[in-house]
């Protein structure tokens, strides 16, 4: 597993070819560790397979969480594990070793955090992006986009029509949930309806009683409401007719009905909560006993502009209380920071991004569909890592930041009299060199020779494999996302420390057979 990911580390990676399972096309050509580990499903040897799946799970989870760092984690993991096994075979204590490896990991984490510098501006962000995707035009575009939308901003990556990359910024926010009836679309050229200074009934009611709806419309007209958006779970044909009749003269009064966003109950509740915070409305929730007859004008949200088409509802200039909106966003941010599940984090990030006031769309072009899909995946992965870089900052790249963590570990080893502790820190010191050695080897350099050159240079220096020079990596714009590096090292060391304490492997040979046991 590690051997398949190792060649992808660095700006001049090697290529990994994977045989396809169900296709007569040629092998799949890959250079992204996250994708490679997903393709490897099983090894023939049962013990090896169990170990490989352990590493696969660790790398996959890392990739899902921060979008990058799988190759770094893989080589650090292997170094720690291999050295650890050798030490344990010579009589070391596995549990003590694990404890000290984890202690050393926290020191590395803190050292990296101390080295991290804040990143801002499209040029810096583009540098980070390039260090992840090695695609300068894509990196430049993502640098600009993230300098605008920020770490939580919404970015849709879509297939473009041409060969180039294009981007578009959308003001306001939008949800899935278009109009119920095509007849509610007034602008037939743009296939959408736009309303100004609109009132919005936020809710998930089933609107099926035309008389009740007519009474509500009368009430709202008396309250001087001239543009109305009704959000509902269902709208009967009779009720649709009531709205269309009431909107015969849109200059005087216009009402449309849109589908409530999201399909699951929890997603729907979240969307309604966000819409309420944004527009200042009070959601009418059917399960909470709300009904159309109880809706009052003051329950409606307000917005400067609303647009809707067959698929989306968009809001620009929601008129909710800005203080309440800030508090709502702060709550979501706190939940995001606490969330561990990648799916939950993605949903929370999307919600925060929507409420921040805009979104961006990146159109990825290309010659073939395969090329487009590959670049889209690369864009999404780079975007994830950029978000982390904005939050956690950046580090000197090319493995230099990991080398800079070694003195603290060496000092801890020198100060300890416990042989397990000293061994653990020395293992980590050697493992932290592994990423830079791998980058050098992948790029065709003699790792030992270059490492000696780096040792002679000042602190903060590393090797630029493209120019073939020892440089101040930060000044040369070789940067890594701090969150990716921290998470990669944490995953690798914690994973290896755990793996070193595994004594027994249990296999299920087949459905009917008894479990067999083997020692590892």
């Amino acid at each position: 597993m590690v051997a398949s990911v190792r060649p992808t580390l660095g700006p001049l990676p090697r290529i990994v070819a994977i045989e396809r399972l169900v296709s007569d096309k040629g092998p799949e050509i890959l250079d992204d560790g996250g994708v490679i580990v997903r393709r490897i499903l099983q090894l023939q040897d049962r013990d090896e397979d169990m170990g490989a799946m352990f590493v696969r799970h660790m790398l996959w989870h890392l990739h899902e969480r921060v979008g990058d760092g799988t190759a770094t984690a893989a080589v650090v993991f292997q170094s720690v594990y291999d050295q650890g096994v050798r030490y344990l075979v010579s009589g070391g204590n596995a549990m003590q070793m694990r404890r000290y490896l984890e202690k050393g990991m926290r020191v590395i984490h803190d050292d990296l955090a101390g080295m991290a510098t804040h990143v801002d501006g499209k040029e810096k962000l583009a540098q980070i992006a390039e260090s992840i995707c090695y695609d300068p035009p894509l990196a430049k575009m993502l640098g600009e986009i993230f300098s605008i939308i920020g770490e939580h901003g919404r970015l849709d990556v879509r297939s473009g029509r041409g060969r180039e990359l294009e981007r578009e910024y959308v003001e306001g926010m939008y949800w899935k949930g278009g109009v119920f009836s095509r007849q509610m679309i007034l602008d037939r050229a743009k296939l959408r309806t736009e309303m100004e200074n609109a009132a919005i009934l936020i809710g998930d009611l089933d609107i099926e009683d035309p008389r009740q709806l007519a009474q509500l419309l009368n009430k709202l007209v008396r309250a001087n409401i001239r543009s109305l958006v009704i959000m509902a779970r269902k709208l009967s044909d009779d009720c649709s007719a009531v709205l269309l009749t009431a909107s015969r003269d849109p200059a005087k009064f216009q009402a449309i009905a849109v589908k409530v966003p999201a399909s699951t109950v929890s997603d729907r509740a979240a969307a309604l909560e966000d819409l309420a915070a944004l527009t200042g409305g009070h959601p009418a929730i059917g399960a909470a006993g709300a009904s159309l007859s109880r809706v009052e004008p003051q329950d409606l949200g307000r917005a400067r502009r609303v647009w809707a088409d067959r698929t989306y509802l968009g809001i620009v200039g929601g008129k909710g209380d800005p203080r309440a909106l800030r508090a709502h966003i702060a709550t979501l941010r706190a939940a995001f920071d606490r969330a561990d599940d990648p799916g939950d984090r993605r949903k929370l990030r999307e919600r925060i991004g929507k409420l921040m006031g805009g979104s961006a769309t990146l159109w990825v072009g290309g010659v073939t569909e395969i090329e487009i899909e590959r670049r889209k995946e690369l864009a999404e992965r780079t975007a994830d890592a950029l978000r982390g870089a904005i939050v956690e900052g950046v580090l000197p790249g090319g493995g230099a930041s990991l080398l800079a963590c070694r003195p603290a570990l060496r000092q801890m080893a020198d100060q300890s009299s416990d042989p397990d502790e000293r061994a653990a820190y020395r293992i980590l010191v050697r493992a932290l060199e592994e990423p830079i050695r791998t980058i050098l080897t992948n790029a065709g350099h003699d790792a030992s020779e270059v490492m000696a050159e780096i040792k002679r240079a000042d602190a903060g220096h590393g090797f630029d494999v493209r120019s073939g020079q020892v440089v101040d990596v930060a000044q040369a714009g070789i940067l890594d996302s701090a969150s990716v590096q921290q998470e990669a090292v944490r995953s690798a060391v914690a994973g290896a420390a755990l793996a070193l304490t595994i004594d027994v492997l249990v296999h299920h040979t087949d459905f009917d057979a008894q479990p067999s046991m083997g020692t590892g």
Binding site: D120, G121, K122, S147, I148, I149, G150, G153, Y169, E171, E196, N197, R304, R305, G317, K319, P322, R323, L325, R326, I329, M356, G357, G358
Partner: protein, 322 residues
């Protein structure tokens, strides 16, 4: 101390904003944005004449903001904020072109211009309900850029003197202060306590790049000063400046000459030590028959040195030249 009270004081319409030519000391050109339209003076604010003559509008065209190009002497550009759009003149207010902002029509609360306008052509318009609009083509086309601007009620804008390099500007809103460091394309809130907002006035030190000083005037909590680009705030003159701070003017030589002038609802206060101690600018000129007159806008086209002219727009209409 009053040099003159202009004839326009007869008209009871609020003076929303004042703007002067950078060459005011020589050409005496200044503009007043008022409920009844835009007025131009060619004699340093002594006499005024309507600037919208060429528009032939039927009624008054209420003008809520005015801005003069930093290169006015050569480009003669003037910008005026009206309901739903921004008017642009390239002949000192003789003729006008209108840039209509997207509907519903925004109300312009304030205008700001890049100090490097001659090269970047960048302008900003703050609005009452629609956030910030930005133009990068000398005011021909405007588009809203409100990423991260969680409060779209923009009352004041302040642009960095080194905008061409740092792309920094601040927006004061109903509920706080936001900063952009990418030329107004995206905004982040600064740590100004929301309970002290609305922020009616903002001004950056002419030496902002190195000293990081900015002042904020609030509706009910007086004056605030930050020495670290908005990260932390102090309240200079807390006991004295405890009224609405409608406008703040810094000496062009700040901080070497640490003069700060604030316009409260009915008084002008001056500090000669960066805000530590305060004194009245002089109550006489802005009182009439013992009654304080409500002040709406201020302009110090030649700085705050003793004897330098000061133009004060009144809520009741008219401009005082002090």
């Amino acid at each position: 101390m009053v040099d003159n009270v202009s004839e326009e004081t007869q008209t009871q319409d609020l003076v929303y904003a004042l703007a002067a030519s950078p060459g005011f000391a020589q050409d005496g050109v200044c503009f007043a944005a008022r409920g009844s339209g835009l007025y131009r003076s060619d004699d340093g604010g002594t006499t005024w004449h309507p600037a919208y003559g060429s528009l032939n509008t039927e009624g008054a065209l209420a003008t809520t903001a005015v801005l003069v190009s930093p290169e006015f002497e050569s480009d003669q550009s003037v910008f005026a904020g009206v309901h739903g759009g921004i008017l642009r003149s390239v002949d000192g207010g003789e003729t006008w072109n209108a840039a209509i902002l997207r509907s519903p029509p925004p109300i312009i609360s304030t205008l700001a211009v890049s100090p490097d306008f001659v090269r970047d052509g960048t302008l900003f318009a703050g609005t009452v309900e629609d956030g910030v609009f930005r133009s990068a083509d000398r005011g021909s086309r405007w588009s809203a850029w409100n990423f991260g601007l969680l409060d779209l009620s923009v009352i004041s804008l302040a642009i960095s003197p080194r905008f061409a390099a740092d792309e920094t500007l601040f927006a004061g809103t109903e509920t706080g202060i936001f900063r952009s460091t990418n030329g107004g394309r995206a905004w982040r809130e600064v740590s100004f306590p929301t309970e002290f907002a609305p922020v009616l006035s903002l001004v950056l030190s002419p030496n902002y790049e190195s000293d990081g000083v900015l002042f904020a005037g609030t509706e009910s909590c007086g004056l605030f000063r930050s020495d670290d680009r908005g990260d932390t705030w102090t309240r200079p003159g807390e006991d004295v400046v405890d009224d609405i701070v409608n406008a703040i003017v810094l000496s062009p030589a700040f901080p070497a000459s640490p003069d700060v002038l604030v316009m409260l609802s009915t008084a002008l206060l001056i500090s000669r030590d960066g805000g530590q101690s305060w004194s009245d600018w002089g109550s006489g000129p802005i009182s009439e028959g013992g009654d304080d007159r409500a002040l709406a806008s201020i302009l110090a086209p030649q700085g705050l040195d003793t004897g330098a002219p000061l133009l004060v727009g009144l809520v009741e209409g008219g401009v005082l030249r002090l």
